[in-house]
């Protein structure tokens, strides 16, 4: 009985702390974005609700928020789609086909995902500069595909090995080529897994910072993380209201997606990291 009491207390205290820890900065971000006065914590005129900040970022062209958002969506979506396509080809090979050194490939790819970005960035910058691609979508999409491939490969392999191999056999009997088996049987059967992997790849690409910082120079290709990190006011003072509105507006969809697909994201992350 005493133990039950201790446990209940620990659970209550822990849960409260966890909720505050996880949500306070986010809540602060949202609140500030809705206040005409980012200093509401220190002054007496308390909290003044307004949507002015949102109006500003969405309608003032010189802030380029819409450009950043569009760039981020295009770059992340393209990267996620291509990554999933390439990763499913490789995952199918590793899960099903005759291939010596499969384990080596999987672990090699895992090691690659642990490379520090800084060790790629100068070469990538020179490469993109030589190609004349700096500040274009291609300069981001191509490295992003490579960068999100390892994680996607690991997750997809874990989904593919769960599909009964007898379906492949049935496909062969029914006259499919290997490519047709992947496209008409494996991919549709693994659709939920594919979608959650794509979502993870999208979020990874959306969150990427260093490549985008180095390979873009202005709003033509700059993505949300860099745009917001470098967001400066027009008149010297940091426009906190605008920054928080931009942060909220661009991350709220991510947060909502994460909440809707929470089970799948948790599953995907743990597969990518643990189960293999």
């Amino acid at each position: 009985m005493r133990e039950q009491t201790i446990k209940s207390f620990l659970l209550l205290a822990g849960s409260t702390f966890m909720l505050l820890f996880c949500l306070t900065p986010f809540a602060y971000m949202v609140l500030t974005s809705l206040s005409s006065n980012p200093y509401f914590l220190s002054t007496l005129d308390w909290f003044d609700f307004t949507l002015e900040n949102y109006r500003a970022i969405l309608t003032v062209p010189s802030l380029h928020f819409i450009d950043y958002l569009r760039n981020s969506l295009i770059v992340s979506t393209a990267s996620a789609v291509f990554t999933i396509f390439i990763a499913s080809l490789a995952a199918y090979c590793i899960a099903r086909l005759v291939m010596p050194g499969k384990t080596f490939i999987l672990f090699g790819v895992l090691a690659v995902s642990m490379f520090p970005q800084i060790s790629l960035i100068s070469y990538l910058f020179k490469l993109m500069a030589d190609l004349g691609w700096v500040n274009t979508y291609a300069a981001l999409i191509l490295p992003y595909i490579a960068w999100t491939l390892p994680l996607s490969l690991w997750i997809l392999v874990s989904y593919f090995v769960q599909i009964p191999p007898v379906l492949d056999k049935a496909g062969l009997i029914d006259g499919c080529s290997r490519w047709q088996i992947l496209r008409k049987i494996i991919l549709p059967t693994a659709a939920p897994g594919i979608i959650s992997t794509m979502l993870l790849a999208f979020i990874f690409a959306f969150n990427e910072f260093m490549f985008a910082l180095m390979l873009t120079t202005d709003y033509h290709a700059r993505t949300i993380p860099v745009g917001i990190a470098l967001f400066q006011g027009l008149h010297g003072q940091t426009p906190w209201g605008n920054i928080m509105a931009a942060s909220t507006f661009s991350t709220l969809p991510l947060v909502i997606l994460a909440l809707i697909f929470q089970r799948r994201i948790i599953q995907g992350l743990t597969r990518g990291a643990i189960k293999g």
């Binding site: 291939m99 969150n207 990190a229």
Partner: protein
Amino acid sequence: MKGNHHKEIKESSLFLLPLALFVSAFILVPVIGTMIDSTFLDVAFLQKKFCGFDNYRWMIRNPGFWQSVRFTLLFVAVTVPLEMILGLMFALLLNEPTPARAILRAAVLVPWAIPAAVSARTWELIYNYNYGLANFIWRKLGISAEPINWLGSEFSAFASLVIADAWKTTPFVAIILLAGISAVPEELHRQAKVDGATLFQRFAHITLPLIKPALLVALIFRTIDALRIFDIIYVLTRGGPGGATTSLSLYGYNYFLIGDFGYGSAVSAILFGVALILSVTCMKSGRFSEEVK
């Protein structure tokens, strides 16, 4: 027989080809390029010239380099254990069938989903000297009426970065550990309860040993990730005050920024070497690869 086998492997290789191309072109070749660049005197507007290990020699005599090494190692040494402990706590909470579980699961994903550079902006506001949330709480707690210049002093800037990083990455640790914890059979706990083990004994003798592999995986991922820390430092302190919070990644980046590609590459190569040695060592340790299989 042999010929057929080869044909099959050839066919399978086609499926791997796009992956191999992308990883080679945009990860492996750049890494090798960086290695090569690190042996050149390669400064913008100057003739590129081979210089052997001059960059490295200069590096080990450069106090700025050692300062960033010291900071990076210290940062890893503080954040990783902190995140592991917090993450374990969160994972235990997430595993309990309380009414709040759904809300907790949702909440834990919020910091994870927000780009680090974006959330760093919020932390910047939180740490604001005049009207940030941190000083608001500091004053409300009544510890001292004097506000703190969070990002202004060496120690408090370090602490601020640790907190912001812990906020962003603890959810990842919690999710990894949750997978390990939920795989522990419930019968073991019931059996231990029957045997008279207390809550803490059950945690120490059942949960903890059984989630060792998950702990190891989280530890490896987090250590390597913390070693290359960049985003939040770039936004919050830009390495300041006085270079006290310059991580190795930022240190290398600063040299790229001023156009010294040779020296920047040497710094990057060092960081790459450390990360590679760490990850290969961990993968070679049987525990990790078994877990993966």
